[in-house]
């Protein structure tokens, strides 16, 4: 088990370093990044909006019930939940959703290319797999995960606002207090989204490139991708959250 984890970490670091190298020195593929941006971004919008939207509604409901029980006033639910969404829940949950949807997709696609010798065929034709397969996905995730995070936060906030109005008769003007969001909240949220955008395709791509055997190997690679990507999102959330506290406190 420990040996497998060590190998995954080593392969992920190697793929990460090679991705950075090919970003500077690799061949350009016309349209590849745009195609991946569509795959990562556009195809994840509905999933992200629904997941984060329901989450926003749940947070508002739970916070509202507690506020009513303790202080008898729900006017602070919106101003309290918005910074939390921007800094913490928005990026992390979007990261986890993308790790599940996009990470598994990358690992399955690359893994099946490995077991059907397509990756060998790439190497035979001057197309290093990290340059040809991982780099466009890396750039796409780096751009689209922060964009999806913004969409996710907006969905959660709007859903929460309507829930507050429906459940507690809180007016939108009371709920929507944007002045409570500080620059440090935005910086923390954005840095997390960018970090997740960088690690998810690298971990998923490395998992796919490590696939061996047939369809069982692809299945294992997919599982590894989602487990390690999700773990990385949580760990990075903790680390970047701690760093932000040290920097902005």
């Amino acid at each position: 088990m420990l040996r497998r984890v060590r190998r995954q970490v080593a392969d992920t670091l190697r793929v990460g370093a090679m991705t950075l190298y090919y970003l500077a020195r690799g061949q350009r593929q016309r349209g590849a990044v745009l195609a991946q941006m569509f795959e990562v971004g556009n195809r994840s919008v509905v999933f992200t909006v629904l997941t984060l939207g329901f989450l926003g509604a749940i947070i508002t409901l739970q916070a509202g019930f507690q506020a009513l029980r303790i202080i008898g006033d729900t006017s602070l639910v919106g101003p309290q939940s918005l910074p939390l969404l921007v800094r913490q829940l928005g990026p992390t949950l979007t990261g986890l959703m993308v790790a599940t949807r996009v990470g598994t997709g990358i690992a399955a696609e690359v893994g099946s290319m490995v077991v059907t010798e397509q990756v060998d065929a790439l190497r035979m034709n001057n197309a290093p797999p990290v340059d040809y397969l991982i780099k466009p996905r890396f750039v796409a995730c780096l751009v689209m995960i922060p964009a999806l995070t913004v969409v996710g936060i907006a969905s959660a906030f709007v859903a929460g606002m309507f829930t507050a109005q429906a459940a507690f008769h809180t007016q939108p003007a009371v709920y929507a207090r944007f002045d409570v969001v500080k620059l440090s909240d935005l910086a923390e949220g954005l840095s997390k989204a960018v970090a997740f955008g960088a690690v998810i395709p690298i971990i998923a791509g490395a998992s796919g490139l490590m696939a061996r055997g047939g369809s069982a190997g692809v299945g294992e690679a997919t599982t590894r991708a989602v487990v390690y990507s999700s773990l990385a999102v949580i760990v990075l959330d903790f680390v970047l959250g701690g760093l932000a506290f040290l920097v902005f406190a």
């Binding site: 059907t116 397509q118 190497r123 035979m124 034709n125 001057n126």
Partner: protein
Amino acid sequence: MIRVEGLTHAFDGVPALRDVALQVPTGGTLGLIGPGGAGKSLVLKALCGLLRPDAGRIWLDDDEVTALGERALMRVRAKIGMVFQNYALFDYLTVGENIGFPLTRLGDASAADIAAKVALRLAQVHLPGIEARFPGELSGGMKKRVCVARATVHDPPFLLCDDPTAGLDPVTTNRIFGLLKALQAEHGATLLIVSHEVAALAPLCDRFVMLRAGQVVFDGPPDQAHTAEDPEVRAFVGQAPVFAEAGA
């Protein structure tokens, strides 16, 4: 010229190749035969640097493949056309894009030149006009012929074919072998074919090398394989019933 000396490799301590040596002169054709799991595909992968052997040396002309790093191998691989056992066609690209792929990655040919060359190769493999189709829409025999077209489109001096007729009917098998020979004759490529279709392969080859359990057990002209001392070699080329030999 292809030259292999002392090629040895093991997976998790289990030997897969043991001191394999073989040679194919420039423009020559070698048939690499042997039972499944003998290590034939591994030899091919080692030849193009897709497998780093534990020991041994490999030369393609003056390039020592086993001594080159990944970047230098890119240059050597440009001289190799490889027909993969499992087709290895890019399923997200059309047939035309698959065949043109080596030209787009290995050279600076214009789109018009690539399209013309793809059309010519498709005509040569008797599949004209299927550029826009995807590999998933083709039969096994058609995929193999597309593989041959992709492997030869850049006129490589070395052509390595890993079981190019696996699972195909005898007519298509003969057609593919004929095609390989014709393409070789056109450009004088050095050809190494792994196959189980020994009878169909024999007329194409100058020599047979037979592997068994990762070791060379026969190296000579195809007709000598019929009279080889090793009964398994004779059985493999269809001259002795292996069960009768084993029971004798």
